[in-house]
């Protein structure tokens, strides 16, 4: 069966060491691979880039790194805009820019909504990650970036081979896998685990028992009147809703028997730590 190469980036595992970036530079800077790519300039291009993302507010903060190579789309928009078949997709799915044919075709850079194609001013060509196709064709099992990853955050392999590591991960990680910007509709073959989404977190405190942690308090997250998620505060009175969509209006409702319920409105334009939310005791009237 024909090979179909893909990559999985497990963001939960990436600790931002930049080895992938350095290995890529080492492979492509100053080195032409005829038929695949011409040398990457010594600075300015990021064929595999690492984006640092820190989100939340003190004291509730999360840190993650997202690795972004060429997505090797199944429906590559760069192919469509190129003339003279300067950009083409190989049988194994790798998208290659022919450096000779692509001369002067700046529209190829702009066609990529992922912004992973770079313009080489000196040589007048667009350039990008090739999944190290020149190495794969010599029998390498994975590109240099994947080989250099110390945490196994990057996994590479043949999507058509059910026994490959990548296929096994896909089979077991169902539901966890996503692509960046699915709305582009380009069907990337680089898939992700743990793309940072939005979170809403906070701490519940009983107004009458400030020294005690308000554990086991019911917290509901709802949007447009529908309860989306329900959780309970942990032993410290903390709660968290993770993996939320961006730019949505939510209401956080906190209820506990004997206490007045409280509602807080949140918009997930940013990750939000609500801080301490005080619950007051319902006054019991003497008969």
């Amino acid at each position: 069966m024909v090979k179909k190469y893909g990559m999985i980036v497990d963001i939960t595992r990436c600790n931002g060491c930049y080895n992938c970036f350095l290995a890529c530079r080492d492979e492509f800077c100053g080195n032409d691979y005829p038929g695949y790519s011409v040398a990457q300039p010594f600075s300015g291009q990021f064929w595999v880039k690492v984006i640092e993302k820190e989100r939340g507010q003190y004291p509730k903060v999360k840190v993650a790194y997202t690795v972004i190579p060429c997505m090797q789309c199944e429906k590559p928009s760069c192919v469509d805009v190129s003339s003279n078949k300067a950009v083409y997709q190989r049988l194994d799915g790798i998208v290659i820019i022919d450096p000779e044919k692509a001369k002067g075709q700046k529209q190829i850079v702009n066609a990529c909504p992922y912004r992973v194609i770079y313009w080489n001013e000196e040589k007048n060509i667009p350039q990008k990650c090739t999944f190290c196709a020149h190495l794969l064709d010599q029998g390498w099992k994975e590109p240099r970036c994947v080989e250099s990853c110390p945490t196994k955050a990057l996994v590479f392999g043949d999507l058509n081979d059910p026994d490959s590591e990548i296929s096994r991960i896909i089979a077991t990680a169902k539901g966890k896998l996503e692509v960046l910007h699915p709305e582009y509709g380009l069907m990337p073959k680089v898939q992700y685990i743990g793309i940072p989404k939005r979170f809403v977190a906070g701490e519940v405190v009983f107004r009458d028992k400030k020294d005690e942690c308000a554990a086991g308090v019911k917290v509901t997250l709802s949007s447009k009147g529908n309860a989306d998620k329900v959780t309970k505060t942990d032993n410290y009175g903390d709660f968290e809703f993770e993996g939320l969509d961006a730019d949505k209006d939510y209401t956080v409702s906190i209820e506990h028997s004997g206490y007045s319920a409280k509602k807080v409105k949140v918009k997930t334009n940013i990750d939000t730590y609500l801080g301490e939310i005080l619950l007051g005791k319902i006054a019991v009237k003497n008969k």
Partner: protein, 749 residues
């Protein structure tokens, strides 16, 4: 290119010192063609890193063949600081150095020459060889206030255990995680370190991640939300400088709730009752108030640590930068003692130089073995700091840095007239109070700098510049815990020589009788004798070998087997044979035998008026993945990833100060101001700012008065000297000073 290119050879070697720059240990494969290293990869057969590498290693060729690298000896042609140099031969360089240092030694005494080193790389061996062959006791980490790097932790462990210990990530076992003897720690406390970037203290950062994959859960003690902290079960966001209180508070919980290992404590420790009494002063409420950590958080963490066996503690340099650091480290080491996590798989295992080979002298005992008891005794009393600090006199043969700089300036009790500065960029790096060290060095009559690139220190003060080799260009030896490793020379670059080659040649000239070895390989062979290997044999094995089972440098449970004490009896190598929670060593040095807490010299608590004026805690020294201390700023691919000297500011604080992300700001303290680019980030709390150290700009003017921008950007200008602990070790206030952030107004820049 890897597949098709024919290499002339692939050299398997060990990474340590210049190049990657770090504390090393990794196995690397160097791909050589036409006498040049073309490519570097991690060695997949090396148990340390198992094929992995890092950005600094991957960009090694840019470092080795950098156009600015100095590749032949230089002598100064103009005035100091003018940047005028002429090329000289090694012969002329050696002759000049011998002549000048002999003159100065004859006139002022040999102790008038300082031998200065930086951090723990392949330098302690060669520099002590040279200092002692010349006859000076003053071998010193010049500039590093309080010698606040690992030494306080080492002495605390030595005093308590008679040995040193490290978190066990299976690094002593050839099969590593697959060895059935090993079990992952159920809990790891990562205390004051961010190990993945730059892997400090002979500990490969990814080992923590490897353990996490095998089930270890983390307690992270750090004021910043590091990647590890954001994945910890507990993150204790501590106020800098209060680690001692936290350790005592955790012991309070563990002891009072009866969670310690009673059998182990009864059998193997000394002074538990006194410790129990001492920790009563540190109630959770007190400790929460001191550390700014909610008490339920550290109570839960203490319980989790004590009830998760095996559990390990991995700690970092901020411990050494606490006030009274030697007792802070003592308190933390007590945690693994009272929970019985000593020398067991997945605990804190005793670490000794592999095979008993000494490539780097850690203690007086080892120095005596290397240089002879008589000689060491002779020079002991003249060492700077020895008469004031018994611990400094006895434990390790470094002079005390704060007193050293004062003595250069005062000439009291004897004059200092020259300095040998070897692979340490004092003014761009570790020196606290940069200006003071600059003034002091300027006064010296003769200064040799051995380094790879010009830097602010060489520009300001060098009279002779000797070009040093990277790890890829030298043979050397490493036994820093495990495995026993060889650095194997792959290529020659210019006329560069290794620190060992340079120092052996000069040592021979100063003391021909004391240097019987014809070359460095012969010296290494003599050091290696106890291992039964020669240098070449070790190199042929792929550059490493693990100690055999049953050797005193191989875990586990050596205290039960009688492998630790010279008399061969079970127990620890202390006077009582037990882990001394009440330290007889400390008592002998005239110090409190039990740990306690002291406020930092400047703090919201100790100096509230200053806190009003300077309402932020200034932490320097967080690590970058792409730099090691003051190195690598000239390496293009690395600099591109971390281009600016930044200061991390919490978004709330930035908003209050009307500061935007990316804006240039001043960090001001009562000692001066430093310019930085604001990095607005939630990973620091609102009451703290973090400014990375070691910043100078090699692309800017190096001559006086600019010195590559250190007076604008070097954060250590704001750190004072003289804050050393009562013991002489530790206390450098690199993480606890107070500051404020101000906008740079137009026209002021």
């Amino acid at each position: 290119m890897a597949g098709e290119q024919k290499w002339d050879k692939v050299v398997r070697t060990t990474v340590w010192s210049a190049g990657a720059g770090c504390h090393g240990g990794c196995g690397a494969k160097l791909f050589v063609k036409d006498g040049k290293v073309m490519k570097v990869e991690g060695d997949e057969d090396h148990p340390w890193n198992q094929g992995r590498s890092c950005p600094r290693l991957l960009s090694l060729t840019q470092y080795m063949y950098h156009p600015d690298r100095v590749t032949y000896p230089l002598k100064r042609a103009g005035e100091r600081g003018e940047g005028k140099w002429v090329r000289i031969s090694w012969e002329e360089a050696f002759d000049t150095i011998v002549q000048r240092l002999t003159e100065i030694g004859d006139k002022y005494g040999r102790e008038s020459v300082l031998f200065c080193q930086g951090t723990g790389r392949d330098i302690g061996g060669p520099i002590s060889l040279l200092a002692y062959s010349y006859g000076s006791p003053n071998w010193v980490q010049f500039g590093l206030s309080g010698q606040s790097c690992y030494t306080p932790r080492l002495v605390a462990m030595f005093a308590t255990m008679g040995d040193y210990a490290v978190a066990d990530a299976s690094q002593f076992l050839e099969k590593r995680y697959n060895d059935p003897q090993w079990t992952p720690p159920r809990c790891i406390i990562v205390w004051g370190q961010n190990p993945p970037p730059t892997c400090p203290d002979a500990f490969f950062g990814h080992w923590i991640v490897d353990c996490m994959k095998r089930g270890s859960q983390l307690i992270v003690v750090d004021p910043r939300v590091t990647w590890l902290a954001s994945r910890g079960k507990y993150h204790l966001q501590i106020r800098p400088g209060t680690d001692g209180a936290l350790a005592l508070g955790m012991m309070n919980v563990i002891i009072n709730e009866g969670l310690y290992d009673k059998d182990f404590v009864d059998k193997w420790t000394y002074g538990f009752d006194q410790l129990k009494e001492r920790v009563q002063e540190y109630t959770p409420d007190n400790v929460a108030e001191i550390t700014w950590i909610p008490k339920e958080d550290f109570i839960a963490a203490a319980r989790f640590y004590a009830t998760s066996k095996p559990a390990a503690i991995h700690w970092g340099m901020p411990i050494d930068m606490n006030p009274q650091a030697t007792v802070v480290a003592q308190a933390i080491s007590h945690l693994w003692c009272i929970t019985g996590n000593v020398d067991i798989p997945g605990g804190n295992v005793i670490a000794r130089p592999s095979h008993g080979v000494t490539a780097y002298p850690y203690s007086t005992a080892e120095l005596e073995r290397l240089y002879g008891q008589e000689f060491i005794k002779n020079i002991l009393s003249r060492k700077i700091g020895a008469s004031r600090y018994p611990m400094v006199r006895d434990f390790r043969h470094w002079a005390q840095p704060d007193l050293a700089v004062d003595q250069v300036l005062s000439g009291d009790p004897y004059p200092i007239k020259a300095a040998w500065i070897q692979t340490t960029n004092i003014l761009g790096g570790q020196a606290a109070d940069t200006r003071k060290h600059y003034e002091a060095l300027k006064q010296l009559e003769f200064i040799v700098v051995v380094d790879l690139f010009h830097n602010p220190t060489s520009m300001a003060v060098a009279d002779i510049f000797l070009p040093a080799a990277t790890f890829a260009e030298k043979n050397s030896l490493r036994s820093w815990w495990t495995p026993l490793s060889a650095l194997v020379k792959a290529v020659q670059v210019g006329e560069c020589k290794s620190d060992w080659e340079i120092n052996l040649e000069l040592a021979r000239r100063f003391n021909p009788k004391g240097v019987p070895w014809k070359d460095v390989k012969e010296l290494f062979d003599s050091r290696l004798e106890v291992s039964g290997l020669t240098f070449d044999q070790l190199a042929e094995k792929g550059s490493w070998e693990m100690a055999r089972e049953g050797h005193p440098s191989k875990p586990y449970r050596r205290y039960e087997k009688g492998l630790l004490r010279p008399d061969g009896k079970p127990g620890f190598s202390t006077s009582t044979g037990k882990l001394e929670l009440w330290s007889k060593c400390y008592e002998g040095w005239g110090l409190d035998p039990l740990p306690y807490f002291e406020e930092p010299p400047e703090s919201p608590v100790r100096t509230p008026e200053l806190w009003e004026e300077y309402p932020l805690i200034l932490v320097s020294g967080a690590r970058s993945s792409v730099f090691f201390h003051s190195e690598h700023r000239m390496i293009p691919w690395l600099r591109e990833l971390d281009p600016h000297p930044v200061v991390e500011i919490n978004p709330q604080t930035a908003r209050e100060l009307n500061i935007e992300d990316g804006e240039w700001v001043y960090i001001e303290s009562k000692r001066g101001q430093v310019k930085r680019k604001a990095k607005v980030t939630p990973i620091v709390p609102p009451w703290l700012v973090m400014a990375p150290h070691g910043w100078w700009l090699p692309e800017t003017q190096g001559t006086e008065p600019y010195l590559f921008g250190i007076w604008d950007y070097n954060i250590n200008q704001l750190i004072p000297t003289g804050c050393q602990s009562q013991s002489g070790y530790g206390g450098g206030a690199y993480k606890t000073m107070l500051c404020r952030i101000t906008k740079i107004k137009e026209g002021r820049e």
